[in-house]
Symmetry: C2
Subunit: 499 residues, 2 copies
Amino acid sequence: MNILYDERVDGALPDVDKQALLHALQTRMPALEILHQREETKPYECDGLSAYRTTPMLVVLPRSIDEVQGVLRVCHELRVPVVARGAGTGLSGGALPLEKGVLLVMARFNNILHIDPAARTARVQPGVRNLAISQAAAPFGLYYAPDPSSQIACSIGGNVAENAGGVHCLKYGLTVHNVLKVDILTVDGEHLSLGSNALDAPGFDLLALFTGSEGLLGVITEVTVKLLPKPQTAKVLLAAFDSVEKAGRAVGDIIAAGIIPGGLEMMDNLAIRAAEDFIHAGYPVDAQAILLCELDGVEADVSDDCDRVRQVLQQAGATELRQAKDEAERVLFWAGRKNAFPAVGRLSPDYYCMDGTIPRRELPGVLHAIAELSNEYGLRVANVFHAGDGNMHPLILFDANQPGELDRAEALGGKILELCVKVGGSITGEHGVGREKINQMCAQFNSDELTLFHAIKAAFDPSGLLNPGKNIPTLHRCAEFGAMHIHGGQLPFPELERF
Amino acid sequence: MNILYDERVDGALPDVDKQALLHALQTRMPALEILHQREETKPYECDGLSAYRTTPMLVVLPRSIDEVQGVLRVCHELRVPVVARGAGTGLSGGALPLEKGVLLVMARFNNILHIDPAARTARVQPGVRNLAISQAAAPFGLYYAPDPSSQIACSIGGNVAENAGGVHCLKYGLTVHNVLKVDILTVDGEHLSLGSNALDAPGFDLLALFTGSEGLLGVITEVTVKLLPKPQTAKVLLAAFDSVEKAGRAVGDIIAAGIIPGGLEMMDNLAIRAAEDFIHAGYPVDAQAILLCELDGVEADVSDDCDRVRQVLQQAGATELRQAKDEAERVLFWAGRKNAFPAVGRLSPDYYCMDGTIPRRELPGVLHAIAELSNEYGLRVANVFHAGDGNMHPLILFDANQPGELDRAEALGGKILELCVKVGGSITGEHGVGREKINQMCAQFNSDELTLFHAIKAAFDPSGLLNPGKNIPTLHRCAEFGAMHIHGGQLPFPELERF
């Protein structure tokens, strides 16, 4: 596997005296678990984006907030960069370590501290797995709504850092809409509470600012999330289409009909076939695209909405329309979708997962343009995505062992993201910018905007020690990358005008 | 009417050469409407919080974004502070002018630019009235959800600046949850777009940071809001109670039962009687408290929820339970609530409206403590509020012409807000901090947090020219005000422990 990671980020960092750092940490916190031999640190060389790898100088695995504070204080004094890591499932390299930095693993903070059914909140440590919150809330008839596909493994701290989404965020919002309070340690080890248990907090909205800041502003020590009552019932409709454009248009039609589905997902033929081979969900393998539309709520409401969605889908030209006949089939329909990434992974030695978001009305045109780009670059692209949100996950299939394919995949991915920006969308919906999309940030934002981001970063972390080289590119990097900024998305690709 | 405004804010500002400023503005923008005679500027001396008054040095009423940009550039060059103003309905003095500053009136930007029914968005100018958006969206079966009581008059720009709420924000969220994109001009006249038409924007969440920033970070030139489909039906239940504590407890019970009402409002006896005298809504005037609970959605769902809410209210000890028999009575029930402030205003020469927010479970205890404080200070307090959100609006009745009453009202108000902070709540729910609650910010936040706010302010406005003296107090002010910060709300008032 080739390594895409750009060494310039580490290269620009000052050298660190590893022995002095190790000594300071051991002296200050004798009980702190520290990994520093290469064979110990190597397993931490990447997160869920395995194409980027760097072995961290040191890995620390604290067991108490005092230890986290101690690590931050030592690193602050010695000017050593710190990268915090939750479960390491992120898809944009947000937790990619630094050769000249400390990897701060928060995985051991995995206690659910309090469930308050009356206030409908859960107070949890940052290393608690997303699904574990819903499991703990289940006896009270409650659950935590955001459900990334990795929910069985990903941590709530990572979810906050990346502002994670999921299949149900069309109706229930992203992580930022489902957290009430985040406790953090700043770069110099000070405690701060962002947000509150009340409806709104005065002053600037630091909770929203922090959510999705990808580890650049502080280290999360505790999260208070909102819990929702479990819907009484949920039904799933599966609709097949003979073109991706028609399916894309049907998505807009459902929303325009005044219906907000719990989930509204789309897969194209390549993804359908891959998922069907892997999961045997009963998908129609000849369809050019399918939509999965989940409606949840009280019984009467759901059955009413199902009827309306059926009508809309028929008018939009669905060639087949099925409702999951029971809960087992409903789960199976979703299992196909939730395993689509690994399923596509079986078709090709490597794949590159994009995460662009576009206005829903642009779906038909952008899907068409992606098909043309796929032909042009000679690489297959499978489309699996949160259609209702306009959050696309094109998966570019390639073989890193074939000369040039990796470069072509990267170039094609860049083109797709630029296309998203051009039609008024953005380069990430829920996976974050991390290390992967840092160059595309130069397309998304102009230098005034980036300067503002840097000033905000400096307000929290003046010496730039927290997760450097992620999320916000330097102006220097953007200048090197080329004048890629596209203004405000006024000018779609000419070929889009056909739609 | 006595004037509460603290002259120190203006006093600390550098002197401005009014003639030079006037000349620069007139030269640069010959068509710009400028008011500079005292009789012209006097009508702009306050916003909805009429207790605070200052006559602005100059008032400008631009008609184009170019003129707004020109005003900002001139003021930036000459180092003159600028206060932006929408409809001037704010209740915390956020648009209070400065004697040494320019008041930038955005009221003429009142065009609805585009309604997109498929994307369910409206693009509007900042001076558009809140209700006008829903009126323009009505032909498409859509509306804009946040509904401050002033919605007939208040502007969307002001709503964004204050992160306004309303009766329906329990279910539909505050302004921040209902905007997609805000275009601003920075202090030096640069255009910036915050947020996007897509689900999520990469980088830091500047849209959320800006929303509720009370004019400190930039001047709003355009807002894109989300529109929602109008609910099929809405029903209102009115429940009477023989104690405010019981009514407060019933609020928590409804939410704990897994129901999210469209609105859940509470009024105490003084407010009930005042509203009934004024509007004749048919409220039970002997009740110690009433709850109004609106359920909206599809017919079957609403009728199901109504039954469940009835049960909960009965178990909570409601002495009377009525459902509005038709749409006319529903509107009448709400008219009483929406006019409660002016109704209470008829009872007393002056009143002081608070806006504290507390965790719902604290409602019974805090209501009891407010009653005790009311006795202690010898001033009547009427309670009218968004109970479902824990957003309280105690109205302190006083007569500014009676020596000492204004001071007692201010002191009592301060005590109530401190109480909110002590139980883990906040000093504002939806009215903002503005000029009014700037001292209470010293109770809400510690110096680390305030320093961070100032650093963020400086990232946008390094010379501090935008709305100085509002929202974020200086550390110096907090030091003068006294060491009022209460840590994390762990220690409620002793008397609260009884509940």
